[in-house]
Symmetry: C2
DNA sequence: TTGTATGCGTTATCAT
DNA sequence: ATGATAACGCATACAA
């Protein structure tokens, strides 16, 4: 176990018999500035000494930090990351893989209520950030001031400064509802987290309404169960719905997590799925296919979406902000038909 | 949107009419070195200017980087993080919350096969690292050379340099198996990922064998289904088991993920759980209570374990390596009795 | 093409 | 108690 002392650019330059500038040039691909011979001497020396650059120094000297901030929402009690929600873990997987592949590292964190992200981005000299979730206005204003490329996921903030990687949530809501309608259902409940202005949930809700309207069905606000994106709430809503609205034969849950809760709540209330009540979820998180019965849901390739976000960010960083298209990347959506929807027989 | 220029320690010092050294002292709590008046002048100036320290510079100047490396295993194809495994996402939640609370940030990443972590720790001047999963010998050797505190999770590497936060896996395996035996089962299969020397799985396997032996039951290696920690394998193993060993009435799966697969595989083979076959898992990941029927399993408080790991690491960093107890932290284990185990009626 | 010198923001040493 | 000033490791403008 050699104690391992830090090898600096100076060590390399001395060993190679050249200047530190030459080393820096070679190691940063500015090959044009240097002769073939010098280049190879430098490379040899660097590899013999096992040179590892210090990113803090690089960052300080004004170049890239190769650090990306990734922010995900926190649990309601503000105590921990919402990483337990598979949707976010999948996104993070996609992001991390792509970033590392390009030589970047990711600082993953949540942001406490009322706190901003400006401190972190300044402290760490972040090259860019990927933000998931929805925050207050001032949060985004801060972000803009750091002049660093930013990609938003799951947010409909309407500001051309930010890039977004989204899905057509409205279409997804429509697809799910339409599937139920096509199977003969007319009394379709919506179970969902808070419908916030400009949130993904609102779009899905709009899709739900559009499908209803298109089919000539009456939109009944009593059929909307709106509270939080959690298993517990799904369960609760299902109980309420089973007790108070026996005429409901189908549920569209705007998130798989909620849908799983609905499954349980229904089962607790003595309703069978899909015989008595059909259920459609949204996201296609891994458990959707592992639960019992396997959940019919709207699939988005979450990992791919994460990778997409990373790609867009890296492009903006490396090729300049303007190089990027200003239309949002929109990932494709499809139905994952499994076993929680049943055709309603006319009685 | 003010363009936002960087406020340095020098700006603060000028505004306060003191030296940069004084500013540094005050802002780092070395109050003793400075008069009350200077201190308050500095604080005022800093807050008026909205001073945000640059961690790169700090790190370069030789103090702490306040950066912790967190490594988690990757999927089998080496492409993405194993964050889809709720076990790891929970751990990360616990770790991140604690770190941020103490002013640290976390770089989350995987490590490619054959790669080490030495580069990253040097590049980023990490103050410490938390490593999950099992790696080759040389990986740990590298780690030791950076002379930075390290906490291992889920590894039985026997080296006093590393701290560990573990659970009594052997006892867990024993508890699970004993539960089945106490319910009258005698033909108990084990479905598990690869049993690697010194891995957690080996310990659980040992606990399984101990419970068997203690009950005077014969250990039958045909009852051990060993391959990978995945839903798919659980499903596969259950199919094989149902087809080839009708005498088996109970399964201990060394991970909930695998157990969920077993549930499905059993159901596909026409076996009912728990009427025909009882199943016990391990970990108590969130889906365990959400699946159908809810899974009886060995519970470890995963989030708390993550927090524990972070605590130990921070203590080692801030109070010096020697301040830490050299006995590993061992988190408590208990059975989460739900609905997948049934008493076997003597026939 | 190559090398020297300077600055990046912070901490720490050493005079004062 | 306080304030210059020299590192820290790297990139780069400028000089040679």
């Amino acid at each position: 176990m050699t104690p391992l002392k830090r090898i600096t650019i100076r060590d390399v330059s001395e060993r190679a018999g050249v200047s530190t500038a030459a080393v820096s040039y070679v190691l940063n691909g500015r090959e044009g500035k240097v002769s073939q011979e010098t280049a190879s001497k430098v490379r040899r020396a660097a590899s013999e000494l096992n040179y590892i650059p210090d990113f803090s120094a690089r960052s300080l000297a004004g170049t890239r930090s190769k650090l990306i901030g990734v922010v995900i929402p926190q649990t309601e009690d503000q105590k921990q990351l919402l990483l337990q929600n598979p949707f976010y873990s999948e996104l993070v997987c996609g992001i991390e893989a792509r970033l590392r592949q390009s030589g970047y590292h990711m600082i993953l964190s949540g942001v406490d209520k009322g706190e901003g992200y400006l401190d972190t981005s300044m402290q760490r000299n972040l090259d860019g950030a990927i933000i998931m979730g929805i925050y207050q206005e001032s949060f985004y204003d801060d972000l803009k001031r750091v002049k660093v490329p930013i990609v938003l996921i799951d947010s409909y903030v309407n500001d051309s400064y930010f890039q977004t990687v989204s899905i057509d949530d409205e279409a997804g809501g429509y697809m799910a509802t339409k599937l139920l309608i096509d199977n003969g259902h007319t009394n379709i409940a919506l179970v969902t987290g808070l419908i916030r202005k400009d949130g993904v949930v609102e779009k899905r809700f709009l899709g739900y309404k559009r499908a209803l309207k298109e089919a000539g069905l009456f939109y009944n606000s009593d059929y909307v169960f709106e509270h939080s994106v959690s298993y517990e709430y799904g369960q609760e809503a299902a109980a309420a719905l089973a007790a108070g609205h026996p005429e409901i034969t189908a549920v569209f849950a705007t998130s798989d997590l909620v849908a799983l809760g609905v499954l349980r709540g229904l089962s607790d209330a003595g309703k069978r799925v899909p015989e008595d009540v059909s259920v459609v979820g949204f996201d296609d998180i891994p458990v959707a296919r592992m639960c019992n019965p396997p959940l019919t849901t709207v699939r988005q390739n979450i990992v791919a979406r994460g990778a997409m976000a990373a790609d867009r960010l890296l492009k903006a960083i490396e090729e300049g902000e303007d190089s990027v298209a200003d239309d949002p990347s929109v990932a494709r959506l499809e139905l994952a038909i499994r076993q929680t929807v049943q055709r309603l027989m006319p009685n």
